[in-house]
Symmetry: C2
Subunit: 453 residues, 2 copies
């Protein structure tokens, strides 16, 4: 067990929140096609952050005024040992985590009242539990608690960064293996099988359902039944989660043929330049929204060079013309959640003020817009996609005709999509790629060098 | 798409239920560590049985009196197409499934009233949806609907059996590969990785979280972090699910060393004889409870031969002395759910009358006790386990001292566990092993023949 300093984290949380009682819900099992056929268990990240305890069915109460922390849960009975095996006593688990005391679950409702602070529910079961415990039908998560947790979890310690580097290095290895392996005739699920084998054989799981597709233009594509053919691009967005909960989030796009064809390489280079632009600008004191827009400008500049766009770059980005190709945000925080702390409210994690978040198409999907600080971990993941339905929508609405050369674009409407994504730590004076700049290239030439002759 | 005859199934359901309106809930996505980081999607099996539709977020209303079936759901918007890609229109999907009409989801509440029949919720989200739709806080699933669905799903058609044979054959291949591969020094997760690779590369998923452990005595053991050593047994309980939803459920136990040692082979042979005893007795007209007890007798007979038990076999089984070694049931129905239809209520699936189910230790875990009929698919899965905590509990309570030789048993308290499980179709005059009697041996000699020299 890695020691992340749970006691210290709880002390800081108490200080930040100041007064009152805090309830942190641990997760329970979730049924798949019936109650007992459960999905693989995942502990709540905030519960894990403050306790390091992975066991299901536990809750934590932090009483700031009484200065006590109490773990609620039940030890196994002999009957349950038949099914689950001998398990550590909760008292032992609590002591290891620096928790003051253990109480049985039936005592929990007595400890909770209408004033107890809790985080937003993100599973239906949480809502049931919170309603039952608080007696409130309309739940109201505590904003001060949300902000305190974000304040702590946003700055990664050395131990946390070391874990994330480990997660990235293994994910790098999985990506480079796929780039080396993929061949004309493979089905997408055959590559997914190989990637999954590598994840599990290293005692890890997927941090999220991998995207592995020849249809990279569909941003959330979890189909894996297509057969790859020469000329196709393969977009792989996949990262592993370590037993500690820390994860990686990486994307590479590569050709099924030996090399990218001419237009594929042109678009790849535009995405790569956009990525490098973002890396160069990522440092404390700059807002991620600014960096996002700089990246968008790099994409427009590239598109102008190949004749798909025209006009003034700055004006095109202000108008949002680039969103035809780059409709999503530049990146997001990462840690124990791939979109770190998203369950606490993306708006609180990614923006200083809710009103800072734009409602424009494109910018509305920017999860992280606020000023960057040293210690943040985030993804940089620009992409260019040709989404036929979006092209048709933009064209039919006559959008951005001064900036978009629809004739040219329509010649490549079946292009697909390219995304390039790595994970970074914001340092004192810039940023550093997690896992180091080795093991998985970013450039078209680097990708091609991994492809078989 | 395999045509299972959805229209005919719905017609039969209408006939069986007779009158009223039926609501069948399709499943939605379930959040893992935040709402949008979802678990792999699984459609509800009953919804799938009557529609063949796998898409999430749809519900079906069957109005028996008006003789209409209506699919409720919403087509993708252009904005959502950016994320999910172009998708078939619901009207097309409904027509393919023989559903009369499609309505948008916001129309559903109008179609539902307090009299509408529905099945028991098994996800917290179902409970929310049913409460919101019916306006009832205390939900009451319809017993007549439950029984009608069980009546239909219990008898497998030729097309269904063909799918299950396919699921078993691939699962057989996975098991035999593991038996060939496992070596001293392997970690459990390395074998799991290989098995998972085989599942995914054949475009399938796991039907349930695999058990792959050197601690087979823990019945529901999902840890995979142990290292295998010569002398260990490995118990693997794993089966795949096809895209159609049909699945397999198989268990094999094999030695890490080249061969079973003497006591391992003795116990294996007892389990194998118990398995064969069950196979011989499985036929229409016999209750599975009778077969379970015959199997228990076979285990007691074997235990007497090696001196672990004594006394009259029949009396020992009536007393329940065998439950020290064989605490679970002989098997369960299988189909689109591993424990088929368990969400409808195990008691309704496995017993003609609720009062038929025993509350005795051991028998209480027998999921299927009722009279077998031709067309049922079920598992046969006897096992022998040495569970130290259970031995100590039985001994401290002085249980079954006339039947159990505790001294002898305690010499082997670290033995582990052995289970042997295959899937069977009940035929007109007996039963038939799904996938055929090839590809994966059942005997100790057969298992050893797969082990490397």
């Amino acid at each position: 067990m890695i020691e992340f300093g749970y006691g210290e984290r709880i002390s800081q949380l108490k200080k930040l929140v100041g007064t009152g009682k805090i309830l942190l819900l641990g997760n329970t099992y979730s049924g798949r096609n019936y109650e007992d056929n459960v999905y693989p268990y995942r502990q709540d990240s905030t519960f894990l952050y403050f306790t390091g305890i992975k066991r299901s069915g536990l809750h934590l109460v932090i009483d700031i005024d009484k200065d006590t922390t109490t773990l609620y849960g039940d030890d196994a009975t002999t009957d349950s040992i038949v099914w689950t095996g001998p398990r550590q006593k909760l008292a032992v688990i609590a002591e290891a985590a620096g928790i003051d005391q253990v109480r049985s679950m039936d005592q929990l409702s007595k400890a909770i009242d209408a004033e107890t602070l809790y985080l937003p529910p993100y599973r239906a079961q949480h809502t049931f539990t919170l309603r039952a415990l608080t007696g409130q039908e309309d739940l109201q998560a505590s904003l001060s608690l949300i902000k305190a947790v974000i304040q702590l979890r946003s700055y990664k310690s050395e131990a946390e960064v070391a874990e994330m580097e480990k997660a990235v290095r293994l994910s790098n290895k999985i990506h480079s293996t796929l780039i080396r392996t993929a061949r004309n005739g493979h089905f997408e699920y055959e590559l997914l099988a190989q990637a999954t084998q590598l994840a599990i054989t290293n005692n890890t799981t997927w941090a999220y359902n991998p995207i592995l597709t020849k249809n990279g233009q569909t941003l959330h594509n979890h189909d894996h039944h297509h057969q790859l053919a020469d000329g196709d691009l393969v977009l792989v967005d996949a990262g592993i989660e370590l037993p500690s909960g820390y994860c990686a989030d990486l994307t590479r796009t590569f050709p099924v043929s030996r090399r990218f064809n001419s237009i594929q390489k042109d678009i790849y280079n535009i995405v790569h330049t956009a990525y490098l632009t973002a890396v160069v600008h990522t440092r404390p004191g700059v807002t991620n929204k600014e960096i996002h827009l700089k990246t968008a400008e790099a994409i427009v500049d590239g598109m102008k060079e190949i004749g798909w766009m025209k006009g003034d770059t700055g004006a095109a980005v202000v108008a949002g013309a680039h969103t035809l190709f780059f409709p999503h945000g530049l990146g997001h925080m990462i840690g124990m959640d791939v979109h770190d702390m998203e369950n606490l409210g993306e708006i609180h994690v990614g923006y200083s003020q809710p009103e800072d978040r734009s409602t424009d198409f494109g910018l509305q999907y920017l999860r992280l817009g606020k000023k960057l600080e040293s210690g943040f971990c985030l993804t940089i993941e620009p992409g260019v996609y040709l989404i036929p339905e979006l092209i048709d929508k933009f064209a039919s609405e006559g959008l951005h005709k001064d900036f978009l050369n629809y004739d040219k674009i329509n010649q490549h409407r079946d292009f697909g999509g390219i995304r390039l994504e790595d994970d970074f730590l914001v340092t004192e004076d810039g940023c550093r790629r997690l896992g180091g700049d080795i093991g998985l290239p970013t450039s078209a030439e680097g990708i091609e060098a991994l492809r078989p002759a």
